[in-house]
Each structure stands twice: as structure tokens, then as C-alpha cells.
Symmetry: C2
Subunit: 197 residues, 2 copies
């Protein structure tokens, strides 16, 4: 521990759980079906708990109008040894690397992309959204739901929705809130880790 290793790590590698390949996970929703897209995010959050692969959070990047799913993700913090690997950051990063652009708005000015997340973003994910190029954020459970289950959303400002709106990003929260919040509640009651440094 007293000297710098001769070679520093140069590569960050973040993988979704293996169960993503399983046939039963079908990432499909009908064009324009906001609730359908949220059901996918909630299903992901529940699946991550069922498979014991991480925290109860799921997110996707989609084209709402067409029903196209660009990326789907879950919280990978513990499994991937990376505190930034929240579901939202994973979904945004996967979408960007799939479309080979750091800016999800640049190549999709015809159809804007939307971040669907089973729970409102924490302070970090809130700060990440404006850099990503998504034009809309749709959330299931709220900060209150997350905190009631023992999770920490960080010092996200009370003005978080207006801050995103001011940057041209629409925010919708509480979509299928009860179903989304139930996954958090069930996780907390199961006694699984709620990590905090």
C-alpha cells in the first residue's frame, strides 16, 4: 500500500448481469405506450432483486413514439465494483455506446430519446441527464419512496425538475408509482444490503 503500482489501470469495464440474455426478458412496448415502457423498467428493477444481482433499480433509453428500446439496464454498483453504475448511468452509457455518440440528441433530432427509470434519479444521475442528450425523463417511484425504503438520493436540489426543464428536458414522475415503489419496499423488507459508503 505504500507505493504506486508500476502499471495503473486504464480501462473501466461495466457489464449487465448474465440473466439479461434469458429469453423471458422481452424488452418490448407498444409505440407511444408510456406505461408499457415503465412496466419494463419496473420489471428490470424487480428482476435485479430476484436474481440477487444488485439494487432494485431499472432504467431504459427508448424512443417513446416508435416503441424502440435503445438500451436497458439495472443497478450494477456492487457486482461491477463501481459506485457510479446506477441503472440510469448504465442505460445512458449503453445507449451512447450503441449509437456511437456521447450525445443522444445529435443523431436523433427527428425522434427524441427518453430515459425511463423505475425511481427518480439521485443527485449524480440528475446531474448526468443534461450531458446525455435525452429530451425527456420518466420516473416511477419518487425520492420519498426511495427514502422510505432506506435509500439515499443525495443532496439533489428541490428544484431538480425545473433545473432540467430549464435545459429543455421534460420530466414526468410518479408513473406507475405504486408498482415501482413496491419493489423498493419489498427489497428493504427482504433485508438485502442497502449500501452507503
Amino acid at each position: 500500500m505504500n507505493s504506486t503500482p508500476s502499471k495503473l489501470e486504464k480501462h473501466v469495464s461495466l457489464s449487465l448481469p448474465a440473466w439479461f440474455d434469458a429469453e423471458e426478458m422481452r424488452f418490448e412496448f407498444s409505440p407511444g405506450d408510456l406505461d408499457g415502457a415503465m412496466r419494463l423498467a419496473i420489471a428490470l428493477s424487480r428482476a435485479n432483486v430476484t436474481h440477487q444481482t444488485g439494487g432494485p433499480f431499472g432504467a431504459l433509453v427508448v424512443q417513446l413514439e416508435t416503441g424502440r428500446v435503445i438500451s436497458a439496464a439495472v443497478n450494477c454498483v456492487e457486482a461491477q465494483n463501481c459506485s457510479s453504475a446506477h441503472a440510469e448511468i448504465m442505460a445512458l452509457s449503453l445507449a451512447q455506446q450503441t449509437l456511437k455518440t456521447w450525445n443522444l440528441s445529435a443523431k436523433h433530432q427527428d425522434v427524441d430519446l427518453t430515459l425511463i427509470t423505475s425511481c427518480e434519479p439521485c443527485a449524480m444521475c440528475w446531474g448526468a441527464i443534461p450531458w446525455s442528450g435525452v429530451k425527456k425523463v420518466v420516473c416511477g417511484a419518487t425520492k420519498d419512496d426511495a427514502e422510505a425504503a432506506g435509500f439515499d438520493e443525495g443532496a439533489r436540489p428541490a428544484t431538480w425538475i425545473k433545473d432540467l426543464n430549464d435545459r429543455g428536458i421534460d420530466v414526468l414522475t410518479g408513473v406507475l408509482r405504486e408498482q415501482a415503489a413496491k419493489v423498493l419496499k419489498d427489497y428493504a423488507e427482504s433485508g438485502q444490503t442497502i449500501y452507503n459508503p
Copy 2:
């Protein structure tokens, strides 16, 4: 663009620029030498510009007391197609994957780890710091310097230092500020991309 691809991407891959291997980059500072650690972060920010591999930002995770460098990174947003690949997120993620823990405090309660960054964190990186387990953040250039050069720090709250302090994280800013700010200024004057979605 109208249908979901049969296989969604499952893996996020983020690599530092190839010049990190070059012999001239020596990631060393003397035990306890805060300015020396900051000089490394500033050198990284400048090298990223010189090599035209990304934005003028560098960061490291170090043990200040021992002079050990755990990770060193630069902004990789454009090169890696990932809007979250800011220098701070890269440095934190590399440190966590090097030490095989998402929590940089858990395995190092004997010696706390510090994030050294050539510029104050944006809203996203500020939100990421409490999840990482670092116990101290040392910044070079300030938000004013970044904004004067045309960069956007996001809607980071004015209370950002107190918010971190409240979570047991020390913050020191303006360390070698002039040298750090000069890299931003030179970058802006060079006419290179200042990206924003």
C-alpha cells in the same frame, strides 16, 4: 430505427487514451505534497489537450499521506462515446475497479483516499462523490474559471461544499488555481470543441 435490435448492448467499455502508457507521464508525488498531486492533475488536463484526446480535465485518486496514486484519468467523453466519462468519474471508477470495491472508504479506513481534480466537479461529478467513498476532494480551477472558458458545470447547488462536508467529505478548492485555469483558457482560445448536448 423503427424496431428494437434483436440484441441489446450489455457492456460499457471506457478506456483512457493510449498516451497514458508513454514513459514521460510519471504519476508520482511526494508523501503529503498536495501541490505535487495537483500538478499531476493539471499535467493530465494539459496532456489531454496536447494529444487532442478530449477536454482539458484531469483527475486522480490518491493517498495523500503516502504519495500513492491509485488511479489517474482524463476526460474521455468524446473518444469513448460516453457523456458520463468525465475525468472525476473515470478516476473514481478506475480506483474502484483497481481495488475491487465500489466503496473506496471500506478497505482503506487506515488511510483515507482523496480525489484530486484539475477543476471543480460539475453537478454530476459532485453528486457522484458521496457514493464513491473518498473522504476528501481537492480542486484546482473553479466553476468561474470553467464558465469563463465556456464550459457548463450544470445546476450544481451553491451549497455544494457544505453538502459534501455534511457527508464527512473535506473540500479544498483553488489549489494552484492559476495554472489549472490556464489550461482551460488555452483550450478555449485554441478553438477546440466545447461540447454540450
